[in-house]
Symmetry: C2
Subunit: 228 residues, 2 copies
Amino acid sequence: MTEQQKVAAIIVAAGEGKRMGGVDKVFAPLGGEAILMRATRPFQKSALIDQIVVVVSDEHYEKCRHLAGKGEWSKVSEVCIGGRRRQDSVAAGLKKLGDCDWVVIHDGARPLVTVELIERGLEAARETGSAAAAVPVKDTIKVVGGDEIVYETPPRQNLRAVQTPQVFRADIIKEAYKKAKKSVTDDASLVEQAGYEVKLYSGSYDNIKITTPDDLNLAEVILKKYEH
Amino acid sequence: MTEQQKVAAIIVAAGEGKRMGGVDKVFAPLGGEAILMRATRPFQKSALIDQIVVVVSDEHYEKCRHLAGKGEWSKVSEVCIGGRRRQDSVAAGLKKLGDCDWVVIHDGARPLVTVELIERGLEAARETGSAAAAVPVKDTIKVVGGDEIVYETPPRQNLRAVQTPQVFRADIIKEAYKKAKKSVTDDASLVEQAGYEVKLYSGSYDNIKITTPDDLNLAEVILKKYEH
């Protein structure tokens, strides 16, 4: 992208957090600070990001609306309420975007994202118009049939676990969402289904998604590693 | 299996632990006790296990040989030195097995295995002769080409991350290792390649494999959860 191009970020934090055992996965403290605040900060900090849209559930809407546009959230131009599925929430965020050339989509439940990871994604997306952070898969993955009988063990060296940030040319992601028919687990899948190439770039094993109390504990462990 | 059938376990702990940053991944303490001792104990405890073979690297051989056959390792009939690849180590262990009908193979780097997980595997293996512990995959997995361009996003609901224990009829696993040509990342893969069906059974997200210092920290977090 050129310096003239505008970049917007959508932070998706509308999930219900059913697996958090009663802990609020958006505002639970991590290293003494709310998960969502940590997830948003690198976008606020990066000089390449012009605008941030935060998508939350009903219960967090008022709180986030008050934070928007001020202090640490000065780039947050819009807060909106998400939908049932993750992709419904991203769709809601896309509708709130101002004029922009690129869109960076990030999970609010990934608080350990860094400025570098975001900016590396913007760089990677130049090539094809779409890029997603990913790491090599450590586990052996098997494809099963309905009876849990193994159908296939795909070669691990070709497998990546994708994360966010995922970065898209604004026209591509908007078209992909317009064409979307199926339920998907990440935004890049819709872009692939719309016929575009997606480039994976090097994410980080530390960039975990917090969905269970164990994940939150692990995030504390990872944070401490950086403090040393 | 019937009560008359004999079950042997192979605990594979011959990896170099290159990613442990100098920490000995076999004898590093976890909750005050060596990883390998924890990994072995449920096999020692289970009434269904008759014999244990422990496969280690050169550097741990003498220490393990002295532990074998005594006290907490009374079922450990053999200690042997592994090979370059994980599958070479398992092959070495298979050669040391006494008379048995079933073989349970387990990673020495998975210290949070339980008696229940082992016995559930033995139960599951009745159906097809082969069973592996596995959990649903949480991440979105993508298959890439050499240029890191996404080739496919397989539907996540059909994906499982396999673990150990993996349980096999002795004749099946021996035949699979005899026929083995390719490098694989788990034993079930060789059994699949030999033309046998492998059934996956419900593993545990807590049954992590320790390959990095972060994993060891996470294992401590998981252990503490059980102490509460």
